[in-house]
Subunit: 112 residues, 2 copies
């Protein structure tokens, strides 16, 4: 999960999910997280995901998608819907989500 | 630094900076980080910043701005230019940066 997405293109979409974890249910959360990563990769239009969380439980996950339609399909996925509900009820005390269109992108990807 | 930006609006811009820290110069890095946070807040068009870094040194910082012009002014700021150079030379082994336009935003901001 802790790696760079090097293939982001202008015109792709980024979903920035910023959330404060509760201290509840670490095992269940980690299991579901792994499953969601696996499932997202099978979705049409998936580009990649980057994620970081500090020791204080504040974390940012950015997923990249080829289109708004791909984001809508992922949001509506039945298994993902269960994860979203558990997130709201149990795993996160607070969150913000932004859907953005990528205008441009650069970095050390060519070298690293 | 570890808090939510609740005032992001459609039409704002998000700069997603994803980077792997080296283990070099922790003190210098933290000092500069604090200074850059302070300085960014004085820039015209600054909306806010969210940041998270895991124990493995992989981190994501998202800054929000009212316009592309505001992003350009911040990138060109003399003191920030020094920080960018030190980042490339010393603090980060690898990074990716994306400039994005915010399409929509939601979350628990109304409650939290």
């Amino acid at each position: 999960m802790r790696h760079f997405v090097r293939s982001v293109q202008p015109g792709d979409f980024a979903v920035i999910f910023c959330a404060q974890r509760t201290t509840d249910d670490g095992d269940g959360y980690n299991l579901m997280g792994d499953r969601m990563m696996e499932l997202a990769q099978t979705q049409p239009g998936y580009v990649g995901v980057e994620s970081a969380r500090g020791a204080d439980g504040f974390g940012i996950t950015v997923s990249y998608w080829e289109s708004e339609e791909a984001i809508g399909d992922w949001k509506a996925n039945a298994e993902h819907q269960i994860a979203q509900q558990l997130g709201r009820e149990k795993w996160y005390s607070s969150f913000e989500l932004r859907v953005c269109r990528v205008e441009r992108s650069y970095g050390t990807g060519g070298n690293g």
